[in-house]
């Protein structure tokens, strides 16, 4: 409702600027899509050919013929889905703890978590690799999922979000005889839905696009995620296949992400606009 009201208030100039910005954002995507629909041979020497027919689905057919692509897709879905669910569960609980429970060393612990934000993945990759090797977790789903669960940003994000929910609600719930769990589950958690959606989408996205750790951890091709698998395939076909095939791979890999965005569009926008809790 509010969005409609503000839309009608846009001046033509604002509208033009927005259309322009949208066009700039969309251009490379459309370009990618067009390239993926061309025969590789047609693009050699002149990628401008993408602008005119004939178009073909040949490149997509070759992707699907790579017999392991579906396996990789499933792997990616399991790993990204698992990571997302795990991150949401952990960060919600941690956020509740940091925002609402009183326990010793709470502040210290929170600062400790925040310090995690400053540590790049690369800095710990060797011990991490060693650890997972010792635990025999390489080439397994836990091996691919677990590192992604340690998300200081998510903890910080959910803590801040829960802190912003008025304490009076907790007090009302206490007077209503709610247990701690009921308070968390029935009162606070539903109110963090917009934040869950945002964090969930970002986590899913990051996990879907993750390349380095899956590349290191999954050495068996049946445990590849889509990113690793497609990259490997690219090396194999680098000579024979060309630009069109490459772009088709890019499009194919982004389809699930696209779906996620479409499904959660409303929550994402709402969370970004910060109007979640009134």
């Amino acid at each position: 409702m509010a969005a409609e009201a503000s839309r009608s208030r846009w001046s033509p100039l604002t509208l033009l600027a927005i259309l322009l910005a949208a066009a700039v954002m969309l251009a490379p995507l459309i370009w990618t899509l067009l390239l993926s629909l061309k025969e590789n041979e047609a693009l050699i020497g002149n990628s401008g050919a993408a602008l005119s027919p004939p178009y073909t689905l040949e490149n997509y057919r070759s992707i699907l013929q790579g017999n392991q692509v579906f396996r990789w897709l499933v792997n990616s879905i399991i790993v990204s889905g698992g990571t997302t669910i795990g991150v949401l569960a952990l960060c919600s609980l941690a956020g509740f703890g940091f925002a609402r429970l009183d326990f010793p060393f709470r502040r210290t612990l929170f600062i400790f978590v925040l310090l995690g934000l400053a540590i790049p993945e690369q800095a710990v990759i060797l011990p991490q690799h060693q650890l997972f090797a010792d635990l025999r977790l390489h080439n397994s789903y836990p091996g691919l999922i677990l590192p992604g669960l340690a998300g200081p940003f998510g903890v910080f994000f959910m803590t801040q979000y829960m802190r912003a929910i008025p304490k009076e609600l907790d007090e009302a719930a206490m007077l209503d005889g709610a247990s701690r769990f009921t308070l968390f589950w029935k009162v606070l958690l539903p109110l963090t839905m917009p934040a869950q959606a945002t964090l969930g989408v970002f986590t899913f996205l990051a996990s879907w696009n993750a390349y380095w750790w899956p590349l290191i951890s999954a050495t068996r091709s049946d445990m590849y995620t889509l990113t690793v698998g497609l990259a490997a395939a690219q090396m194999n076909y680098a000579q024979t296949s060309g630009l069109g095939f490459l772009m088709a791979q890019a499009v194919f890999a982004s389809i699930p992400i696209f779906i996620v965005y479409v499904l959660f569009q409303k929550q994402i926008v709402r969370a970004m606009a910060g109007t979640a809790v009134r």
């Binding site: 609600l169 007090e171 009302a172 719930a173 206490m174 007077l175 209503d176 005889g177 247990s179 009921t182």
Partner: protein, 366 residues
């Protein structure tokens, strides 16, 4: 039988004492208002009763049962929060049912109670709305409804009307009075608003400086303030306080002299006053009238005139530079800068001793 009993409640935040030895006994079905300036600990006391705040010392009993260590949900109290604190993601119906579900009230009983409360509060048509879709006044009713369905022994209301506009506040005040007469429970309401306290409460508890200053029926608080704080805090505009000297004579009542020499014959029994020590006189504006020179007790120079319609308030200074507030009729001819005569009604005057304790005219036979 007493409903709520507070004995010697103490509370401090760190080194700051907020409540220091507060005791109070409420009658069954009594309506009490906590009145006091900001920061006087009204909310803290209310929250201690609710169980949202721990106490450092003292006991809280409700219907004879000690409840200060009992979890808030099991105390038999319900609270209406200043900002309503409705659950934004639940419908009105769910908001009201939530507390009942948590304690395992059967489904049909929940439905019956919610329907009853909704009918009383006239929010039946809103039962399926979310709080965000309702006006402030409607939300307030839901908040009250959420308390009513619990059938508590004691309602706690923290400034329940302060978020409403003037007209709605008036209406809700009347409704509160009606609800109060219907339910079998005691009420405590925190308020800044004297009119609210005076009209709704059976007794007012005036709080300041970590302590209860006075407990009593509204008119007693108004006409027999226990000390200078209560005297100045209750009543608007505030009571004039001025130092006086006791005129030595052997009359039954104290006769006092203002700084400018004017003498006032009070109805405060001389025998009650402490021997020696300084005295202050307390005069409500309505007992100081602008008068023709013949009838005047003293003279004052007018500094500010407030025309309120049915009466006029005159802020003036006596010749010894003491401020005094007087009243005049609606169509007052008094202007700023005038020197006017003031007739002081000694029978309505209050006296306060060096400890600021109040002494009043003997209760008038009705």
């Amino acid at each position: 039988m007493a409903s709520l009993e507070l004995s010697d409640i103490r509370k401090s935040y760190g080194a700051t004492a907020v409540l220091d030895g507060v005791s109070l006994t409420m009658e069954a079905r009594e309506f009490i208002a906590f009145l006091g300036p900001s920061g006087s600990g009204k909310s803290t006391l209310l929250r201690i009763i609710a169980g949202l705040e721990t106490l450092d010392g003292g006991e809280v009993r409700l219907d004879g049962r000690r409840i200060d260590q009992v979890p808030p949900g099991d105390r038999g109290v319900a609270m209406v929060f200043q900002h309503y604190a409705l659950y934004p993601h639940m419908s009105v119906r769910e908001n009201m049912a939530f507390g009942l579900r948590n304690v395992g009230v059967p489904r049909d009983e929940i439905e019956r109670r919610v329907a009853d409360a909704a009918r009383v509060l006239e929010i039946e048509v809103h039962l399926d709305k979310k709080p965000g879709q309702m006006s402030g006044g409607q939300r307030q009713r839901v908040a009250i409804g959420r308390a009513i369905v619990k059938h508590p022994k004691l309602f706690l209301l923290d400034e329940p009307l302060s978020n409403l506009d003037a007209a709605l506040r008036m209406r809700t005040r009347i409704e509160l009075a009606q609800i109060r007469s219907r339910v079998d429970a005691a009420f405590i309401m925190v308020t800044h608003d004297q009119a609210e306290a005076m009209t709704l409460a059976d007794r007012i508890v005036v709080m300041n400086d970590r302590k209860i200053q006075q407990v009593g029926p509204p008119m007693e608080i108004y006409s027999r303030p226990a000390n200078t704080f209560v005297a100045r805090f209750v009543g608007s505009p505030a009571m004039t306080l001025a130092p006086v000297e006791l005129v030595p004579d052997d009359g039954l009542y104290a006769r006092v002299r203002l700084g400018d020499g004017a003498e006032i014959e009070t109805r405060v029994p001389r025998s009650e006053l402490p021997a020696g020590g300084t005295l202050q006189i307390g005069l409500r504006p309505e007992s100081v009238a602008v008068a023709a020179n013949g009838a005047a007790t003293t003279q004052a120079k007018v500094e500010l005139v407030e025309r309120l319609g049915e009466r006029t308030l005159v802020y003036a200074r006596l010749s010894d530079n003491r401020a005094i507030t007087a009243e005049d009729e609606g169509y007052s001819r008094v202007n700023v800068g005038d020197t006017v005569g003031l007739r002081i009604d000694g029978a309505a005057a209050h006296l306060f001793d060096a400890e600021e304790r109040g002494y009043h005219a003997e209760a008038r036979p009705e």
